[in-house]
């Protein structure tokens, strides 16, 4: 189910929150309504953690993670790191990364199996991603943009990319990621997908400007209509299947 909400009158929900299958990070806001919406939806299933990163509230764009781990930029303070280590479940590995491109959320887009990264990411960071998050890493661009983490978002069920992505690019990415992809917009025609929404396998949150058409696209590609939060089943797909739509 896709929920529409706002963070302090801004529709860019993906900037102020990070949603994965194992946990949810929410930034510290002026009013509690943002936090309470997430709680209402997710409290029974996964922990919802309030935090800041490096003293800022734009946590969604600074960190990258999935059910296996969480990567934080070098600007994260020790207290924040400790707080996160304490709040998150034990199987989630929390790791601070020394990387020149510190907005990891903009540079890395990942689900539980595959990650797409900024083409200029360091080699060590790439290894760390593969190690901590347990994913296969691919360096890619989306519609000519190098900030893959901003212009696409995908879960284990499907993905949404920048509207100007060509058909060939879409096919290529779909093959890499092994999930169905669609080009679309969020928040009334905004092209910055990952900043406008955040998604996991059974639920999605998007800005309140999102039109009904966009919501229906999101719900159909991420297969949210039938999805129920269930015990996360490991589905390791070793065999390569060509993209299925």
């Amino acid at each position: 189910m896709a929920t529409r909400l706002q963070f302090e009158n801004s529709c860019e929900v993906g900037v102020f929150s990070k949603l994965t299958n194992a946990y949810c990070l929410v930034s510290i806001g002026g009013s509690e309504s943002f936090y309470s919406t997430f709680e209402a939806e997710l409290a029974d299933v996964i922990p919802v953690v309030k935090t800041s990163i490096g003293g800022t509230r734009i946590i969604g764009r600074l960190c990258a993670g999935n059910k296996n781990g969480l990567l934080l930029p070098h600007t994260t303070t020790d207290q924040e790191l400790q707080h996160l280590r304490n709040s998150l479940p034990d199987q989630v590995v929390v790791q601070r990364v020394e990387e020149r491109l510190s907005a990891l959320g903009n540079c890395i887009a990942c689900n539980d199996h595959v990650a797409l990264t900024h083409p200029e990411l360091d080699r060590e960071t790439e290894e760390m991603i593969a190690d901590v998050l347990g994913v296969e890493v691919f360096r890619q661009t989306i519609a000519g943009n190098i900030l893959v983490g901003s212009y696409c978002t995908f879960s284990n069920k499907g993905g949404l990319v920048h509207p100007h992505t060509s058909v060939e690019d879409l096919d290529e990415l779909s093959t890499l990621l092994q999930v169905p992809l669609v080009a679309g917009t969020v928040n009334r025609g905004s092209e910055v997908i990952a900043a406008g929404m955040t998604v996991n396998d059974w639920t999605a949150f998007c800005g309140s400007d999102t039109t009904a058409t966009e919501v229906s696209v999101i719900e159909s590609v991420f297969k949210l209509r039938e999805a129920q939060p269930s015990a996360i089943v490991d589905e390791m797909r070793k065999s390569l299947i060509d993209s299925y739509v």
Partner: protein
């Protein structure tokens, strides 16, 4: 670019996304909304005028552009379109791509223009929209028309051209010049008087423009005056009538002049007897015995305003008995001259007595024995001139030849139509007696002959083809040795006449 480097580039096909509002499939654009949704969102014609009132003067078919200019334009013309576009306010906020008229009934007093504009909206998407502007045309007489209606003979400025000579050659030539340059296009009335012409204009600036035009083509002295007609006490508006008094210098072409001593020495001792060869806004003087020439500016002339000794009315015909060229042919000021000794006799003396004069002349290149020439008879003339008195010990020649004469041949041609004709100004002429009229006619005939003989005079005159002239048959034309100078056909302008058929055709097209 990658293509130039020879790298392999994957073909990029643009996919389609759903419009974020209505959900129909479309190619992605900057706003990611289909055109209809975008247009419903944003109206770029907001803030632009859709109804405009324009004022139209029914007398002169002009439209008012505030505050005061009236623009002449036909319905559905380019001028009207640009005028209408200018009247729409705030049009500079958007980019105008296309404009055209929508047909309206001519008597409906409505003009409709369809404008297509482009503007950038949202995040860089360029939106194009067309809309219709309706103009309501209100009838309002413009100021000059209302003034003309109130009092048709009302003039504000008058220019009085005068020349104190006894012939009208200058005015014939000036008339042609004015016609060619259209300088009197704005004159309400033109009146011919005894020694000149009066022009009446509806505004001072027109009169001034005319005075300046005359000042460029003739050496003139002018002064201006004004007379109060009415006075509005409350707003302190004064209405005047302006009069410009323009006097043209009395020296004409082919005149014989005796220069005053001061002028003679300032011009470098140019012999006191000189011939005037050309009059524009400066006077060209030629000394016939030394072939020296000089120019006198308007200012220079009026400082020492001298009159001519003999004018071209006093030309007498001579027959040339013998010519001996003394110096080679030279070109001075565009014309060729050659100094020669000549033996001439007055035509009135020829055959009757043996009065022969040996004179020097500057027409050596033109004359041969047996030719006729026109010149001034100084031997027989009784010159009552102050300047001449001042020169003591001056040897006055007996005759000075001015030009070659085609009198004999002209006699045959007189009365016959020419292949070309001249237009004339619409002048009011005082009715003169018969004798005066004959004098004027003969002067006009001489003017036409002058035009035929002088190509440089023709330069400033528009000659039109005479439709009524038929080519004389081969039998009739007898060329006796020398052809008369005549105007070549290439110089004639075709008269423009709109036939009824053409006019009807153009009004049919919409």
């Amino acid at each position: 670019m990658a293509e130039e480097a020879g790298m392999f580039l994957v073909q990029q096909t643009v996919g389609s996304v759903l419009c974020c509002k209505c959900g129909i499939s479309m190619t992605p654009n900057a706003a990611n909304m289909c055109v209809k949704c975008l247009r419903s969102e944003v109206d770029i014609t907001e803030g632009l005028q859709k109804h405009v009132t324009i004022l139209h003067c029914p007398e002169c078919e002009t439209y008012l552009q505030p505050p005061r200019t009236w623009i002449k334009a036909q319905l559905e013309s380019k001028d009207l379109l640009s005028f209408c576009i200018r009247r729409v306010k705030n049009l500079n906020k958007v980019k105008l791509v296309h404009a055209e008229f929508i047909w309206t009934e001519p008597h409906s007093k409505r003009i409709k223009v369809k404008l297509k504009v482009q503007k950038e909206v949202l995040n860089g998407a360029l939106l194009e929209q067309s809309f219709v502007v309706e103009y309501v045309q209100q009838e309002h007489m413009c100021e000059p028309c209302s003034r003309a209606q109130a009092n048709p003979d009302q003039w504000v400025a008058s220019v009085q051209l005068r020349q104190h000579v006894s012939h009208k050659r200058t005015f014939f030539f000036l008339e042609q010049l004015i016609l060619k340059h259209g300088a009197a296009a704005s004159a309400i009335r033109i009146k011919e008087t005894d020694k000149g012409i009066d022009f009446f204009f509806p505004s001072r600036s027109h009169g001034l423009k005319f005075v300046e035009f005359v000042g460029k083509v003739a050496p003139v002295k002018s002064r201006h005056d004004k007379q109060l007609v009415s006075h509005d006490q409350k707003s302190n508006n004064f209405n005047y009538r302006y009069t410009f008094s323009v006097e043209i210098c009395p020296v004409c072409r082919e005149d014989l002049i005796c220069l005053p001593p001061k002028v003679k020495s300032s011009l470098g001792n140019l012999g006191p007897l000189v011939i005037c060869t050309k009059v524009t806004n400066s006077i060209a003087l030629l000394d016939p015995f030394t072939l020296r020439h000089c120019f006198l500016d308007t200012d220079q002339y009026w400082r020492s305003s001298f009159k001519s000794l003999h004018t071209s009315r006093e030309l007498v015909e001579y027959i040339v008995l013998d010519v001996e060229v003394v110096s080679p042919e030279v070109t001075i000021g565009g014309s060729r001259y050659a100094l020669a000794d000549a033996q001439v006799a007055r035509l009135s003396d020829f055959g009757k007595n043996d009065t022969i004069f040996n004179i020097k002349t500057h027409l050596g290149h033109l004359l041969s024995p047996g030719d006729y020439a026109l010149g001034y008879d100084l031997y027989g003339a009784n010159s009552n001139d102050d300047e001449l008195e001042k020169y003591k010990g001056l040897v006055i020649p007996e005759a000075i030849l001015i030009k070659k004469s085609y009198e004999e041949k002209n006699q045959k041609k007189r009365g016959k139509p020419r292949p070309w004709k001249l237009k004339s100004l619409n002048m009011e002429i005082d009715d003169k007696g018969r004798a005066e009229q004959e004098k004027v006619d003969s002067e006009y005939e001489q003017f036409l002959e002058d035009l035929e003989e002088n190509p440089e005079m023709r330069f400033n005159v528009s000659l039109y083809r005479n439709e009524e002239y038929q080519q004389p048959s081969e039998m009739a034309s007898m060329t006796d040795g020398e052809d008369l100078p005549s105007v070549p056909l290439e110089e004639l302008l075709g008269d423009l006449e709109l036939s009824r058929a053409e006019v009807g055709d153009s009004s049919m097209r919409k």
